[in-house]
């Protein structure tokens, strides 16, 4: 049985035609199911988890990267298969998974190529698929309980990725079975007369603990969250079963 979660922004008029086409195609393919629409006013966590307990095997997220990230964090357990129908902007995960936008995504759903992918896990509570960003001034990072990284200079940005985004922009195949986070520390040195210089540090680690100030603002797919330190980060191996397309760049 299929279960569909629609993002709140899809209620805009401009998406009405696309939604109608998708629903018609899903009925043709015989994979239509219950539809739940996300809303700021409704707490969907309980509704969705209750419905899943009734025997739903496939949950389909209709929206963008943010919708997918929100959905996987709403679920009590990730023992079901998750599909994606991308609509509108900010759909980089769908591109990685080889899922075309709108109606064409329905055919990918019906072909059901399932790939388990690793997820990043923050403080044993919150999952992320791609990457997170945070300011890196005065931060102390413990990597794999072996060594510490002390970020001393100002103007640092720390990027921690489960799926390395830079590779996607270079249009190369991206590995997701490495069990390692890619930790990138970008330092920008501003000078008055010369052009600003950027220095990069790059590490690989399985497990990280970030300590520093009382709380650190973290940017997670266009969503800013303030998380208290220490922040523990680890990889949840093959945690999410996603329906992917044949033209995926994620291997």
């Amino acid at each position: 049985m299929y279960y569909y979660i629609y993002d709140n922004y899809l209620s805009e008029k401009k998406y009405n035609t696309t939604i109608a086409k998708i629903e018609s195609r899903l009925t043709d393919l015989g994979i239509n199911g219950k539809i739940i629409k996300m809303s700021i006013l409704k707490n969907l966590e309980k509704t969705i988890n209750d419905d899943i307990k009734k025997g739903i095997k496939t949950l389909v997220v209709v929206g963008n990267d943010k919708t997918l990230n929100q959905t996987i964090n709403l679920l009590d357990n990730l023992n079901l298969t998750i599909g994606l129908i991308p609509i509108g902007p900010n759909n980089n995960i769908a591109k990685l998974l080889g899922i075309p936008e709108g109606e064409a995504a329905c055919d990918i759903l019906s072909s059901r190529i399932i790939k388990p992918i690793n997820l990043g896990l923050i403080n044993q509570r919150q999952y992320f698929i791609t990457y997170l960003e945070m300011p890196g001034d005065g931060i102390y990072i413990n990597c794999d309980d072996n060594y510490f990284i002390n970020v001393e200079d100002k103007d640092n940005i720390i990027t921690l990725s489960n799926i390395y985004w830079g590779d996607y922009e270079n249009n190369t195949k991206i590995k997701n079975n490495t069990e390692y986070f890619n930790l990138i520390i970008k330092n920008t040195k501003k000078t008055i007369f010369r052009a600003k210089k950027e220095y990069f540090s790059y590490f690989k680690a399985k497990k990280l603990t970030i300590t520093g100030e009382k709380s650190i603002p973290i940017l997670l797919i266009d969503e800013k969250r303030i998380i208290k330190t220490p922040i523990n980060l680890e990889i949840a191996k093959e945690k999410l079963k996603l329906i992917v397309g044949k033209k995926r760049t994620l291997i």
């Binding site: 072996n146 060594y147 002390n150 001393e152 640092n156 540090s201 790059y202």
Partner: protein, 143 residues
């Protein structure tokens, strides 16, 4: 060994100038150090130490190209290259060594295995040669 302008895709770790690393840094990939490290560095591949870097650590690597300052012992299984800006305060153990003029090396240096050392011939058992200066004959003087 590292080449000039090597891309980051071939490198597993880059320790930039804004970063200080403390502890046991163990990896199986290439490492580039431009910042500061205190502790130990172990890699089964190559290590490149930039001119601005300061390392207070014992190092184990397959190959190393050093342009910065190291206070610690180096154990390089294959090739060690010290550029003119390199400063080493520690002992070196390596297979091949190349030192550019201007590099500073303060410590013991051990190269290759002791097996490659030539065996000393037993001089004591040989008969001593009598090496007397030859005096010219009378005929030679007359000539």
């Amino acid at each position: 060994m590292f080449k000039e302008n090597q891309t980051t895709s071939e490198t597993d770790t880059i320790i930039g100038p804004s970063v200080k690393v403390e502890g046991d840094f163990v990896t199986e990939g290439n490492v580039i150090v431009e910042g500061t490290i205190c502790g130990t560095i172990k890699t089964s591949r190559s290590l490149k130490v930039g001119p601005t870097s300061k390392i207070f650590a014992n190092i184990w690597a397959e190959n190393a190209l050093i342009a910065g300052e190291i206070q610690g012992n180096l154990n390089i299984s294959d090739k060690l290259e010290l550029t003119s800006s390199a400063k080493i305060f520690g002992d070196i153990k390596t297979g091949n060594l190349s030192i550019a003029p201007g590099a500073i090396l303060n410590g013991k240096c051990q190269m290759a295995d002791s097996k490659t050392k030539a065996t000393k011939p037993e001089f004591s058992k040989q008969k001593k040669l009598e090496l007397k200066p030859q005096t010219p004959t009378n005929t030679e003087i007359l000539d």
